[in-house]
């Protein structure tokens, strides 16, 4: 079938129709345009709803742990930590301090890998592939440590009910210290790039604006909220694991745009490195787990942790048996989606990919169709993510002279 080319807004031509004419697929974003600007945006989500909450009601607490970890493969440890702490609270169990520290070590390693992942993906979205490759190469060092310590690169499985399953060895401690040294250097380069490069600033500043009041009103969490001046961070406001002793700094910025969201994540990584260093020097001795009974006494607990993307909130109800009565999971991205229409509306279509990417959604969220309704012509186009991304890169090159292919990294 011949590819059709359709002018979008009469400016840039993007081939569409690569999908089968009878393709039935719900669009995950519906954007209405006036000229080149988005005047209304709707997000339609739930593509990966699997029925996890129901599944847990039919599994034991330890089986549910393995499902909970796989709600999201990028912040799996956050999910597993909030779940374990909630069950431990219901069971009236206090886990050893060393176990709390070890959970915290993996929390911060996860934050590093997740932010590096995001940085690379965001770079990729705006056509800055050199940077994407640099950052993901650094990320491999974090993955190596996670694998050595926990036994797996992804879905680490370090948590168990009552503590953690593996302990640090002197070699791993040395590796983490070396990682901190390396990250100090690399983060300096990234910070300089983020703060000093005009092309990057030109591409990201004033894009996807979210004022402080709106961020609060829409319940934004994590780096998205902090980049809009909202000083919330569960590690500091409502400490879990070992964060009562391992103090985090809340990284707040008031740019209120995508640029701010980049800055906040880079500076959070700097803070994570500081905390890892502190923990390597101060981790208390002791056992790494205690026994938790199979049957959990009846009760209810609401709990939350700070995942890399923001507050991850759970509600657990137990009924005295081996199986949970109810588990409610609210991942951070679900909170941040409420504000997405607000961030997209009023900006150019060409900025939509990076605005969506900047809330750090699940990778596969961007793997869906985008429906564009043009108010002026009354026409409707369907794009996939690659096409929208290409349109965006072309548009910025033509209109603003922004071309990352020419940017060098020192």
């Amino acid at each position: 079938m011949m590819q059709k080319e359709v002018p979008i807004m009469g400016r840039v031509v993007v081939p569409i129709g690569t999908q089968h004419p009878a393709l039935k697929e719900p669009a995950s974003f519906i954007l209405t345009l006036e000229g080149e600007k988005v005047v209304s945006a709707k997000a339609k989500l739930g593509y990966n709803h699997r029925g996890i909450e129901k599944a847990c009601e039919n599994r034991s607490y330890i089986q549910s742990l393995y499902i909970v970890e796989r709600v999201c493969g990028i912040c799996s440890h956050a999910h597993s930590t909030v779940y374990c702490e909630a069950v431990e609270e219901l069971a009236g169990i206090e886990i050893p301090k060393r176990a709390k520290y070890l959970r915290t070590v993996v929390c911060e390693l996860e934050r590093l890998h997740s932010h590096l992942l995001w940085l690379g993906v965001a770079a990729h979205e705006i056509g800055f592939d050199t940077f994407f490759m640099y950052v993901w190469r650094d990320r491999e060092k974090v993955m190596d440590i996670l694998e050595n310590f926990c036994g797996n690169r992804v879905n680490y499985g370090i948590n168990t009910l009552g503590g953690v399953r593996r302990d640090l060895t002197p070699e791993i401690i040395e590796d983490i210290k070396n990682l901190c040294k390396l990250m100090d250097e690399r983060l300096k380069i990234y910070t300089d790039l983020a703060m000093g490069d005009a092309t990057l600033a030109g591409r990201l500043a004033k894009v996807g604006r979210l004022s402080k009041e709106t961020a609060i009103q829409y319940g934004a969490v994590g780096p998205v909220a902090r980049a809009s001046g909202v000083a919330i961070d569960v590690r500091v406001n409502d400490p879990f694991a070992a964060y009562d002793e391992v103090k985090a700094n809340i990284v707040v910025d008031d740019n209120c745009d995508v640029f701010g969201r980049v800055l906040v994540r880079v500076l959070e990584m700097v803070d994570s490195v500081r905390m890892l260093r502190f923990m390597m020097d101060n981790i208390p001795d002791g056992t790494i787990s205690v026994k938790v009974p199979r049957k959990i006494p009846a009760g209810e607990v609401a709990h939350r942790v700070e995942a890399p993307r923001g507050e991850d909130a759970y509600f657990l109800a137990s009924n005295g048996t081996e199986k949970p009565e109810r588990i409610r999971m609210r991942a951070p991205t679900e909170a941040n989606w409420h504000a997405i229409a607000h961030m997209l509306e009023g900006d150019y279509l060409a900025d939509s990919p990076i605005i969506i990417a900047a809330i750090d959604p699940c990778y596969s969220c961007t793997d869906r169709a985008i429906q564009i309704n043009d108010l002026n012509t009354g026409k409707q186009d369907i794009l996939n993510w690659q096409q929208l991304k290409q349109y965006s890169i072309n548009w910025h090159r033509e209109n603003n002279g922004i071309d990352f292919a020419k940017l060098k990294i020192k």
């Binding site: 079938m1 990966n48 029925g51 796989r70 999201c72 596969s364």
Partner: protein
Amino acid sequence: MSLDQKIINWARRKSPWIVHFNAGACNGCDIEVIDALTPRFDLERFGIMQKGTPRHGDILVVTGAVTMQTRDRLIRTYEQMPEPKFVVAIGACACTGGVFDGCYCVCGGVNEIIPVDAYIPGCAARPEAIIDAVVKLLSTIK
């Protein structure tokens, strides 16, 4: 086999184009697929490129237990790919449904929906395993 066919086979063997489809995954396997493209693992040195459009794809790489919402699109994507085409199920969920098998919105592994040529277990499947499977698949294209 005609000369044309031999050349096409050779080209295909040397540089297959991959279409990546997330059927409802937790993203763990997706990031390992992307990892396979980055310098440490470097799938591109085999000439393997990731393409957005199924119409030019040789290998459909699927992650995740297929959910109700993605099932039809998976079928359509598969149908759009020209022959010969190959399907690789990456990760425990794509192979059998993984930990989510039996959940109410999950259809199961990819082979419940479309024919699968290679299964890569793991949770998540490692980049080395992904590359290994793709290269093995290529060697079966005579």
